[in-house]
Symmetry: C2
Subunit: 114 residues, 2 copies
């Protein structure tokens, strides 16, 4: 068993083109011995967003706090705490903070993604 | 994209031998098209616990709220909101509510776990 507080994990700025005001903490990943998937915690500042992009792996997301929007070619939908979001492989998507507080969410991906 | 509130998902009582006061919501799984891993939300009532057991797959856990303990043969450790826990494949483990409020946590497992 390994236990850590999310606050102990270094928050790295997401430098990817198209990202703004976004940090990521790798909570559980290969360094912990996780064999199949990675748990990451994202925090987006008010006005910030992740890139509008697509990739061949899925996202499983749980919104912890804040107000945001998830944008795909088909729709823009509001999300807030306790919402869970499934983005299937290959679907273009973007997460944006539409509120006044940080938007915090877990986003899990397969181990061998990106 | 699929979005749902965790509250919309049916909470099923965990009937497994050794479980007490525990419900599980399958937030994201095969029915959503999730190809690799499942997101579940557990809620354990005060005094309740999951079975003390082991299995060949891992757990990736994020504690949302409440006070609890994670027990393994090596240790018993306290957990609360923002703690994340990795239980490797094959390690015996049990989650227990040691507080006065519900203990709520996400627990993700590979898709083909039992």
């Amino acid at each position: 068993m390994q236990i850590k507080s999310a606050h102990e994990v270094e928050a790295k700025v997401v430098e990817m083109e198209g990202a703004s005001g976004t940090t990521m903490r790798l909570l559980i990943g290969p360094g912990d011995g996780a064999p199949n998937f990675n748990m990451r915690l994202f925090e987006i500042a008010p006005g910030g967003h992740t890139p509008l992009h697509s990739h061949p792996w899925e996202h499983e997301v749980y919104v912890l706090s804040g107000q945001g929007a998830v944008r795909t070619p088909a729709a823009e939908k509001a999300v807030s705490g306790t919402d869970c979001v499934f983005i299937p492989p290959g679907e273009q998507h973007q997460f944006a903070n539409t509120g006044r507080q940080p938007l915090r969410f877990l986003c899990l991906v397969p181990r061998d993604s990106g």
